[in-house]
């Protein structure tokens, strides 16, 4: 059977695909930043708890204060890219989600558990005593598992060849475990999240956003330590991921496409620059470089998607039934929303100063 016959007919879009593409890239970047702080932070808090000692415990406590925010915003910032990916690639992602429906359906229930566990960890940090580490493990393991399910779906949606498994079982228990790029891809996200979360903690120290009595310098140096180590590992996993991709897709970044190759080269240079600044404990420079690296990685990730889907679909295939007024409405709402958020943050930081005075 030709897998292309399984791909559903997409619905028309109201404005040219480029708009959705920009929105997808932008909101995915936001999601990844917060998601990394959430997942990587949990991992770092767990490692710190195992290592013990006063500053390590305080670091886990400090992260505990931040954790519920990061979960709330990781989910919240995840909604938007999920919306836009459905607009552009709905026919793929709906199909693959149904193939793994049982897993996919379990995600939001699992997240509710992880979220409440994070709140218990935050609100009851002292009272939990030695139970604390179990709550932390519980929540981190769930988040790791949810991430794994995402990696499965994001790869399964790109491979209609695999969808024929539906005809053996339609009960929604499929995963994409046979894909050699699945594990390195997943680890690439997990290890990356530890690096970004290390940076996040260092920034918390750097800008004095601490709430616990953790020593600022210790927080910065520990955070930068996690950042640097994780980045070293990340470089190796990145190479593994690259060679685990199907050959034609790997070649996109190795000369096949000028754009892809340049992105990879810039990515490598930036990774080493990040290592250098991480080693030197220069928080601000490391942050800027990491942000740019993430942007590059997100565009590379998208090139992988385009290359996988090339035999079946490209974004310019989508029909446009133009209607611009809703988009203008959205952009106005977006501007108002940003202004309101800016205003509220101003109020919040204003009162922070009053209190510390």
């Amino acid at each position: 059977m030709n897998p292309a016959t399984l791909i559903p007919t997409p619905d028309a879009i109201p404005v040219p695909w480029g708009w959705f593409y920009i929105l997808l890239m932008l909101t995915f970047l936001l999601h990844i930043l917060v998601m990394n702080a959430m997942l990587g932070g949990g991992i770092i808090a767990l490692i710190s708890s195992f290592r013990g000692g006063e500053q390590n415990t305080l670091l886990s406590k400090e992260f505990g204060y931040k954790w519920p925010y990061t979960i709330a915003f990781a989910v919240n910032m995840g909604v938007a890219p999920l919306l836009f990916v459905q607009v552009l690639y709905g026919q793929f992602i709906y199909s693959s989600s149904i193939l793994m429906a049982v897993w996919w359906f379990s995600i939001f229930g699992l997240l509710i558990l992880a979220y409440y566990a994070a709140y218990i960890y935050d609100f009851k940090f002292e009272a939990l005593g030695s139970l604390r580490i179990f709550v932390l493990e519980f929540s981190v393991l769930i988040l790791l598992f949810v991430g794994f399910l995402f990696s499965n779906n994001m790869t399964l949606m790109l491979q209609p060849e695999k969808w024929q498994a539906y005809f053996t079982s339609g009960s929604g228990t499929l995963l994409n475990l046979s894909d050699p790029s699945l594990i390195p891809r997943y680890l690439h996200f997990v290890v990356g999240s530890v690096a970004v979360a290390g940076l996040f903690l260092a920034l918390v120290g750097h800008y004095r956003f601490t709430k616990s009595s953790v020593d600022r310098d210790a927080l910065i140096s520990k955070g930068m330590g996690y950042f640097t180590y994780a980045t070293v590992i990340q470089i190796f996993i990145g190479i593994w991921f690259l060679i685990a991709l199907p050959k034609n897709i790997m070649m996109v970044f190795m000369g096949g496409s000028g754009y892809g190759t340049i992105l990879l080269l810039i990515g490598i240079v930036l990774a080493f620059a990040a290592l250098y600044f991480g080693y030197k404990q220069q928080v601000a420079m490391a942050s800027v470089i990491t942000l740019v690296t993430l942007v590059i990685m997100i565009f590379m990730r998208d090139l992988v998607r385009i290359a996988y889907l090339k035999p079946y679909f490209q974004l310019s295939d989508l029909t446009v039934q133009p209607e611009y007024s809703p988009m203008i409405f959205f952009l106005v709402v977006f501007a108002i929303g940003l202004a309101l958020i800016g205003y509220m943050l101003k109020l919040a930081f204003g009162c922070r100063k009053e209190v510390t005075k």
Binding site: I98, F105, G170, V333
Partner: protein
């Protein structure tokens, strides 16, 4: 038929979405009204310099954060998750038609979360007026979320002029938009009182507790009028075929209607009981009873709204089983299986009779019927059809009298295969024994 169908059998018939939606609807409406509740009480506490009340507001805001943001937020995402799994074609249609409506709703969702965090964590630390402003921003963002979702949900039942124009705005401001908005605003304010009972019941100070109980009872009573009035207006605005289905046609929906008419006054009376000075131990239990009644009440309403939409998922545009109305003539000609991308067999043969029948059931019926499950189980209602011929002629007339169902889509052979599967197939199996005359049609399944 574009998409694969998740093979759920027992939990088919919309069970999963009902499960997620009912709890979410309760909490999400609470999340809207709760904002106004908090700022009103906070203001009153400032005005009367009432430290006890202020302390209650602070406690309630923590409860509110944990219930509305964590549970409400995630079950909301959960609804989306679920409909995409159960009805991807309709989800895709809603997403593509209203993408910027959803996107705008997302902006308000962000605003809501930022405001609620700031409200909660700066309680007692921020300048009072500014703190109330943050509370107002929360409420406005939350209500705007309701405003936007309300348009999209209303569109599914009453797409109105959209059917011709296909324009975002005519679908959004559809014939039930305003009545439903009034109704839902009423619900969300009523629920603040309902959840207020829960936090108030655990206050130690006797006088404070009674005072707040009374305030909460007022919060149930006044918006109740808005809710009942809005609900009535909403009902009047529903166009004809759907209204008859709700009132008389569908046996299932009429049951829920009865449940609704009972639950509404009970909810009101139970809430008024809370205004009476009663022992705390009673209040601690009874507050959850009231939440339970509210859950039944809104659950029944949601079932009626969903039921009234049958046989469509988007009225006059797409059937519950993901078939576009406009595609039906083509399907009747070419056959349902040929037109389904994810059907295993494209044509009915003697060999694949059962498998083809199973696919037909899965793709055409399982959206509304479970097999041995809690919701709209097919097994008991087909027991009276003990021959394939009987079933086949039932299928021929399907959707004519019982117009809450789409009519059967496909060729004569496909209809025969479905009838065979229902009567003899391994899952439903009305008749174990195979009669002489049918042996010719029957081939071993799988």
């Amino acid at each position: 038929m574009n998409y694969p169908v998740w093979d759920l059998t027992t939990y088919g018939g919309g069970f999963l979405i009902a499960l997620v939606a009912v709890v979410h609807v309760l909490v999400s409406h609470f999340a809207v009204g709760g904002g106004l509740f908090l700022i009103t009480l906070e203001k009153k506490a400032y005005k009367d310099e009432d430290a006890g009340l202020l302390d209650y507001v602070k406690k309630h805001s923590k409860f509110f954060l944990l219930v509305s943001m964590v549970f409400g937020g995630l079950t909301g995402v959960g609804i989306w998750w679920t409909i995409a799994l159960l009805n991807p074609a309709a989800t895709s249609s809603l997403i593509h038609t209203f993408v910027f409506g959803w996107a705008a709703e997302w902006v308000f969702f962000v605003g809501e979360i930022v405001a609620l965090f700031i409200y909660f964590y700066t309680f007692g630390k921020m300048d009072r007026n500014n703190h109330i402003i943050v509370g107002w921003i929360y409420f406005i963002c939350a209500w705007m979320s309701l405003f936007l979702i309300n348009g999209i949900i209303g569109y599914m039942l009453t797409p109105g002029a959209w059917i011709e124009t296909h324009s975002f705005w005519s679908g959004f401001f559809n014939p039930t938009f305003w009545p439903s908005l009034v109704f839902r605003t009423g619900i969300s304010l009523t629920l603040c009182g309902v959840f207020g009972f829960v936090t108030a019941a655990f206050l130690k100070d006797d006088n404070l507790r009674q005072k707040i109980m009374r305030t909460c009872a007022v919060w149930v009573a006044i918006p109740f009028a808005l809710m009942v009035g809005g609900g009535w207006w909403y009902f009047l605005a529903i166009p004809e075929p759907a209204k008859t289905i709700i009132l008389e046609k569908s046996p299932e929906v009429t049951n829920y209607l009865q449940l609704l008419t009972w639950a509404m006054p009970i909810l009101f009376i139970a809430s008024m009981i809370m205004a009476i000075r009663l022992p705390q131990s009673f209040q601690k239990v009874f507050c959850f009873v009231i939440v339970g009644i509210a859950l039944i009440y809104f659950g029944a309403f949601e079932f009626i709204r969903e039921g009234g939409r049958r046989p469509f998922i988007i009225y006059d545009h797409m059937y519950s089983n993901q078939v576009y109305v406009k595609d039906v003539p083509e399907i009747q000609k070419a056959g349902f299986l040929t037109s389904s991308k994810w059907a295993r067999h494209k044509e009915v043969t003697d060999e694949n009779l059962m498998d083809a029948g199973r696919d037909l059931f899965k793709f055409q019926c399982s959206a509304c019927h479970s097999v041995n499950g809690p919701l709209n189980d097919i097994v008991p209602i087909v027991q009276k059809f003990d021959t394939v011929f009987g079933m086949d002629s039932m299928l021929n007339g399907l959707g004519k009298i019982n117009n809450y169902m789409p009519h059967f889509m496909g060729t004569r052979e496909e209809r025969w295969a479905l009838a065979n599967y229902i009567v003899h197939g391994p899952d439903i199996r009305v008749v174990q024994e195979i009669t002489q005359q049918e042996t010719a049609q029957k081939k071993p399944a799988h």
